[in-house]
């Protein structure tokens, strides 16, 4: 089965900026370790939500707006795709993602065609 690990971080830009290089390096290393896991097939960090462009089509007209779909504080900041026999591997990897400590990681099975 495949699972998406959706990463919700609560670290603000200010908090991130206040960290020392060593602290930031340690967090990058944790993300690196997760992405190196054999069960992880892909993943990416998303740029900030205010960099999003939202597209809607109404009556054949394409409406393009600046900004995210939903104006909420909780936005997905990145994701990993995990392939494993059961949810357990996905849950264990989710717990290793630094954002799980100050935000949350949502584990969602992918619908397989």
């Amino acid at each position: 089965m495949r699972y998406a690990l959706l990463i919700y971080s609560n670290t603000t830009d200010e908090e991130w900026g206040a960290l020392s290089d060593a602290e930031r390096g340690a967090i990058y290393a944790e993300y690196g370790a997760v992405s190196q896991s054999p069960a992880v097939t892909s993943g990416a960090q998303l740029s900030a939500a205010d960099m999003a462009t939202t597209v809607r089509v109404k009556d054949g007209q394409t409406l393009t707006t600046d900004g995210p779909y939903a104006e909420t504080k909780e936005v997905v900041g990145g994701f990993f795709i995990v392939e494993s026999d059961s949810i357990d591997t996905a849950l264990e990897l989710a717990a290793k993602i630094p954002a799980a400590r100050n935000g949350a990681v949502e584990v969602r099975p992918l619908v397989e065609m």
Partner: protein
Amino acid sequence: MIEQVFRDEWGRVLANLIGFLGDFDLAEEAAQDAFATAAERWPRDGIPDNPGAWLTTTARNRAIDRIRRERVLSTKAHLLVQEEIEDEMPEDTAFTDERLELIFTCCHPALATDAQVALTLRTLGGLTTDQIARAFLVPEPTMAQRLVRAKNKIRVAGIPFRVPPAHLLPERLQAVLAVVYLVFNEGYGGSVELAVEAIRLGRALTDLMPDEAEVRGLLSLMLLHDARRDARVADGELVLLVDQDRALWNESEIEAGRAALDLAIALGGRGPYVLQAAIASLHLEPDVDWPQIAALYAELARVTGSPVVELNRAVAVAEAEGPAAGLALMDALDLPGYHYLDAARADLLRRLGRTDEAHDAYERAHETATAPHELRFLERRLQELEDER
């Protein structure tokens, strides 16, 4: 007699079918078919030598029939490959006991606790949806929905049917034990059926995991509590342990509980259930060893970090060293609005002759307590204090 066999075999038969078919609903339907056939034939033909194997074989055959029928009806059938089924069809011998796999699936942390409880009772206990709904005071359709949703999640989210690997086992076993204990406590307060079922599950777990001290600790704890069931209530009022009629205690359950505790300790158990069982056992002695109970509560508080356990320790210390010592510990506790703390403090203040403070504390407890028998108890105490003044 047949009913007893059904009760004993349901969990094992269903677990084996789920392991074989990989599908909860199909397994449940097939098991029900097999049990219905047995109910029809056994009274006529007699109970087979190995009823479990008979039921499992019959249920497997029913499931295969069903899959074949569906395959004929639908070209999109995607279940099992026929050859595989034929190869795996057993001769007539023993089937593996997969109840442990099943209970770890049912108590997986990806399921909500109430779903874990319902699923465990339905699959391993063989309780009907209606029985579970009544025990938890929810409407039957709500409970049915809860079970359907849980089974869907197991399938869609890929919750595994297995005993967790060693590095996950301690945490997952805690979840299993918590579900069993929750069922027991639910039964302790009301439905006897649930308490009986929890003890059955506890016994099954000790058979399946004989070397796990906490499993035996939990069984012991449940037996030692259950042994006092008949003495806990008199004329509709809750009776405190010290005032209970010991003649109403179930001696054989106490003996079984203590035997389980001895085994748990022999296995090196010092976990929360073993400690609680040890405390429960000491409470049943004719002369209660309060210093020992206080020491065990101290250890339990270290393991659990629970302020409620600290409160219990303070009560034990009050018995061992006097009310002033217990009160000092209670005053250091941070449990706002917890009426058991107010009531326990009130009792110590009363014993120290600080009647006004005791009265205030009982009143605070009365403001937050909700259970009718607790309210009545507090009212009696308040009345007694007012009479003294």
